[in-house]
Structure formats: C-alpha cells, structure tokens
C-alpha cells in the first residue's frame, strides 16, 4: 500500500474516531455536557489522536526498518491504532481529562516542528563538516585558507585558494551595504517619523515589494541595464576598464535588493521607540530632526545595527545577481569596475556538470559552503545578540 493511500485511510479513520469520541462523551454525559470534565469535541480529538499517533509512529518505524509496505502489515498497524483508540473509548468517563491530553499532544506536535527546524540546521552543518574534512585530506588546509590564486583544473594540479573569492564576496557585499544602509535607513526615518499614515500604508508595502522580486530578475536587470550603463557612462570615460560585468554592478543591484531588509526592520525598530521620548524632546523645544538625531536614533541604534547585519548576511549569500552582474572570474583587485566573483558562484560552478565527488575540485565546494555558513552564522548571532540587548532596554 502506498504512503499516500495509507495517509488518506489514516485521516478518514481518525475522523471516524473523532465522531465516535464525541458521541461516546455525549452518551456518557447522559445528555448534560456540563457533567463532563472536558467538552465532547475535546474527547473526540483525544480519541482521534489516540488512534493516529500510534499508527503513524508504527508505520514510520516499520518503513524505516525497511520492511512493510504490504497490505497486511499496513492493516496490522491500523489495527494497533484502533486498539489504542478502543482502550480510550472504553475508559471514557465524565471525569476523563481529555482537554489536558489534547493540550499535551498539541505541545508535543509543536515541539516536533521546532525540532525539525533545528535538526535540519545541524544536519546541514554536519554534512558540510564531513565533506570539508574529506576535502582537507586531499588538499592542504593552509593552501585553501591563505592561497591567493583560484584556478581549479579537473585534470589535477589546481590552485584552490579561497582569498580571491572571499575578497570578491566581501567587496560586493560592502558595496551593496553602502547602497542599502543609507537609502534604507533614511526611507525608514521618513516612513516612521514624517509620513502620514496613508503614505506609510502605501509606501511600506511598495518598498517591501523589492524583496519579493526573484533574484534572477535582479540579475537580468544588472546584466542588461546597470552593467552597460556603468561601463558606458562611468568606467570607460574615467578609464577604469571596459568590462560590462563588474563588482560595482552586482553591488549596486544587490544593494537595491536588500533595501527593504534595512528599511522595513529599521522602521519597526524606530516605531518601537516610545512616543514619550519624542514628546519629551519636542516638549523641550527640539525640532523633529533634532529629536530624531539626538533621541530616537540613539535609542534605536542597536536595533538598526541588527537590521544591517541581517541584510549583510543576505548579501553575502546572494548568487544570481553576482553571476549575471559581476561575472565568474576569480580576481583580487581593488578596481570596482572589474569583473570578480564570489564564493557562492564558485560553489555552483564546481558542482555543475559532470562531477566526481572524490576530486578536491568538487569537494572544495563544501569547504566554501562551510566558510560561508560560518560567516553568515556569526553575523546572524551578532545581530541576534544586539537585537536582544535592545529589546531588554524598552520592555
């Protein structure tokens, strides 16, 4: 029996158990549900859970053990659930605490969901670690960490230094932040302090729309509009080079992409600054801009730093805009109008096409992934710590 059919059957039977539990509770109550400890629907839910939980756990265990899937074993598992439900059904008395049981089951379900999220992170981390260890057995770690040349060659003898990629990543992210932080922050100040509620109700979703545009569309924008524009109007006239793909292009477009991260979070944080502080400052005869500069922004600063760090980790992980905007050549250069590339782009290019998962040229992708993961993790933790400190201040 297929999984979907089994789940469908399970759902139907659980619904039946629910109806049966409710009817039984009403019967036990003798028509007066006030005599019950819990409401009839809670008894129904309790019965449905008593049926579905053992059946699901049993089925999962059976499948994981490699056995089962047959008609008879499936029926056996359903019978197990039915037996458990029957036991609850028989034991149902007016004073049965079905509500508490259902609450406990709800809590268990919520815990399970949280565990899945955390376990996935740990799983990703572990898979990266193991592959990275495999990589370092084939390629010296010092050469990876401090090598300034990136020239992979699947025939062997490649240079896999991370420095040019790290440089590209940080350079592009820095340009993106240089665009996004002032624009986003000032937009947030306008929206939270000056805009009327109507303007704000329109402008805030409009800015957040930027975050909803797929990054590949941003990439196209960088490739066909921003790149040639920067080349023809700035790079060539000033003699910075003739490359259409450049760090500046990717940084600029990525900066636009992360504006909503900065503006939306900063706006929320500025709004969380108590009105009483603004009143206090205005009441002393300060102008609105003095109030913002001297009272509101200092109070909101830790939160704003948190918002910027979250935006930074988004920028560091970005791939598509870099491929189309900055190109794929790993280079160590200060010229912002030269093509460079980032770690994410190289991860993609090392893993696409025919890959041999024993070669260091492929395994290096995992080491790059781990490096990236650690950078963004550190930024996120830093952001969380700062934001938490800020929250303590005003609650």
């Amino acid at each position: 029996m297929s999984i979907s059919l089994f789940l469908l059957l399970l759902l139907a039977l659980a619904a039946a158990a629910y109806v049966a539990g409710r009817a039984r509770a009403e019967m036990v109550a003798g028509g007066d549900i006030r005599r019950l400890h819990s409401l009839p629907r809670q008894h129904g839910l309790n019965l449905a859970i008593a049926f579905a939980l053992p059946a699901l756990v049993g089925y999962a265990a059976w499948r994981m053990a490699g056995a089962g899937g047959g008609l008879w074993s499936t029926l056996l598992i359903l019978a197990l659930g039915a037996a458990s439900a029957l036991a609850v059904w028989l034991a149902l008395k007016p004073e049965t605490r079905a509500r508490n049981e259902v609450e406990a089951a709800t809590k268990l379900f919520l815990i399970a969901c949280s565990v899945i999220a955390v376990a996935t992170t740990i799983g990703i981390f572990l898979s990266l670690i193991f592959e990275t260890i495999a990589f370092f057995q084939k390629y010296p770690a010092a050469k990876f960490l401090f090598g300034t040349k990136w020239a992979p060659d699947f025939r062997g003898g490649s240079d896999l230094g991370v420095i040019p990629l790290l440089w590209g990543t940080l350079y592009v992210s820095a340009i993106a932040l240089a665009v996004a932080v002032p624009v986003g922050l000032f937009a947030a100040i306008y929206m939270s302090e000056y805009a009327s509620p109507r303007v704000r109700a329109l402008a805030k979703p409009a800015i957040e729309l930027l975050a909803g545009i797929p990054t590949i569309v941003y990439g196209l924008f960088a490739l066909i509009t921003v790149g040639p524009m920067l080349r023809d109007w700035i790079a060539q006239p000033l003699g910075f080079g003739t490359s259409g793909a450049s760090v500046a292009t990717a940084g600029l477009v990525m900066g636009v992409m992360i504006i909503p991260f900065v503006s939306s979070l900063s706006d929320d944080i500025i709004n969380a600054v108590p009105q009483s502080l603004r009143d206090g400052s205005l009441g002393l005869g300060a102008t609105p801009s003095e109030t913002i500069r001297q009272v509101v922004l200092p109070a909101a600063l830790p939160g704003i730093v948190g918002a910027v760090l979250l935006a930074a980790s988004r920028a560091i992980g970005e791939t598509m805009i870099v491929v189309l905007g900055a190109g794929a050549a790993a280079k160590l250069s200060l010229n912002p109008f030269e093509a460079m590339t980032t770690m994410t782009v190289k991860i993609v290019s090392q893993l696409t096409g025919d890959t041999d998962f024993a070669a260091p040229e492929t395994l290096v992708a995992f080491a790059l992934g781990l490096t990236l993961f650690l950078i963004t993790l550190a930024l996120n933790i830093l952001a969380l710590v700062i934001v938490r400190k800020y929250r303590e201040q005003y609650e």
Partner: protein, 264 residues
C-alpha cells in the same frame, strides 16, 4: 505639610497666559468646548476633573503639543504675554522652549544624567562655554532637589535612576531651558507617596520663578499645591477660581458633586 505650603500666597495677579473661547476637535469629536482660563504669573494652577474631561487636552494646547497628534485642531485664542500662540508667525518649536512640559510617566532620554539636563540648553544654545553649561546643569538639578542624589553619578544613564528621581530629572530637564510656564501632566501619577511629596514641595518652590500648570487626578494634591483651580467636566470648563474657594464654597453643583466624591 499643607500648612507649610499654604504660607506662601499668590504674589502677583499678572497674567502669563490667557485662553479665550478655546475649542479642540479630534477629527469629528468636539473634545473641548468654550474654555476661558487665565494662567497667572508665579502661581500654581491646577486642572482637575474626571478622566476624559479634557484637562490634559487643554494642557497640551498651551504649548501646541496637540500639533503632533493627527487630526487634532484648535480654535479660539491662547495668548502668551499678549501674543497669540496659534498665530501663523509663531514657531511651535520656540514656543515649547518658553512653555516647558513634564509628562505623566518619567521619560528620561537614554543618555547620561548630565546629557539629559543639558539637552535643552544645548539645542537652544543657552550656554556659551562648558563651564556655563555645567553651571546650568547643576543649578537645574538643585532646583529639582536632585543634585545631592546624583552629583557623583552625572555620567550614569538617566534611565537607571528610581522612578521618583527620574521624574525629578525630567523636571530638571524642563527647568534647564528656563521656561516662562511649566506644564505638568499628572507628574505624580507614577510615583509613590514619598516621591510625590518631594515633587509637590518642588512644585511649590518652582512657583518662585515660573508659572506652573498641573493636571492632577488627586483633589488633595490640587488643594495642597495650587492657588488657582479649574474644574473640567465632559469637555466644559465648569468652574475656575481660587483653590480655597473651589474646595470650600464651589459655585457650581457639578464642582461640589466632584470634590465631595459623588461624580467622577
């Protein structure tokens, strides 16, 4: 303490502020109707009345803090030293430097004690040198009866003080800009009785230099600290007169009902 406070009588009958025929609307809601009040120089004026009667609204009219509220509009005339404060030529920012305000909840800025007090003088350029600023800060804190408690921790954050100290810090902050009128919106409602007594004593001392207007829910407080009292009810100014007269021989039956505890 009541005796001590009553010794000091009203020293002048000079008008600081005059309000005539003031109406306030919040959108469609007519919140305040036909209010006429005189704020006398070197006098404490108390606004009393049940919640929602418009006393805080009127207080906020006196330094145009209602301007910061969406949809609020004010009609009628409010004069400060003979000048209409709602005149087009009046800058509300300058007005608020002359008519200071202390709020219901202590709201020190997340800065040091010193910077809190120095905030107003710095903005308005009141001090020519660091020494002069130091002196303004010290005298303001002394006036607010806080100097002895904080003189050794002027660099500590103002938010770290106790509730009563925070409120006195806010008073020092308002006093530092040297206003002509000081508005206080229920300044003691978040304080315990001891801190309240300190603030009340302080209000009486401030009277030597400023006109003080205080909104309060406590009729005992109004009787203790004020020389003039205005009673508001449902957006109307019911009665305005000497505090002793309001509390002993109220003319309006509604005032009598309120001060004897039958309404409100």
């Amino acid at each position: 303490m009541k005796d001590h406070l009553e010794r000091r009588m009203t020293t002048t009958d000079l008008n600081r502020m005059t309000a005539r025929n003031v109406q306030v609307y919040y959108g469609q809601n007519h919140a305040l109707k036909d209010v006429d009040v005189d704020i006398l120089d070197k006098t404490v004026t108390a606004f009393i009345g049940p919640s929602g009667c418009g006393k805080s609204t009127f207080l906020r009219c006196l330094n145009r803090m209602n301007d910061t509220i969406q949809g609020a509009s004010v009609e009628g005339q409010i004069l400060l030293e003979g000048e209409d404060i709602y005149d087009r030529r009046v800058d509300p920012v300058q007005l608020r430097a002359k008519v200071g305000m202390v709020f219901q909840k202590p709201n020190p800025f997340p800065k040091s004690v010193y910077d809190n007090v120095a905030y107003g003088p710095r903005i308005h350029g009141l001090a020519r040198s660091k020494a002069e600023l130091d002196q303004i800060v010290e005298s303001s804190l002394r006036r607010a009866a806080l100097w002895n408690e904080v003189k050794d921790r002027l660099t500590a954050p103002g938010t770290g003080l106790s509730g009563g100290q925070q409120q006195r810090l806010c008073i020092a902050r308002a006093v530092a800009t040297n206003p002509e009128v000081l508005l206080m919106d229920e300044p003691c409602s978040a304080l315990d009785p001891i801190a309240t007594a300190q603030v009340e004593e302080l209000i009486d001392e401030l009277r030597a230099n400023f006109s003080v207007v205080i909104v309060t829910h406590s009729m005992q407080q109004a009787a203790r600290v004020s020389q003039k009292t205005a009673f508001f009810h449902l957006g109307h100014l019911v009665e305005y007169g000497d505090t002793t007269q309001i509390f002993t021989k109220p003319r309006d039956p509604r005032t009598e009902a309120y001060i004897t505890g039958r309404i409100g």
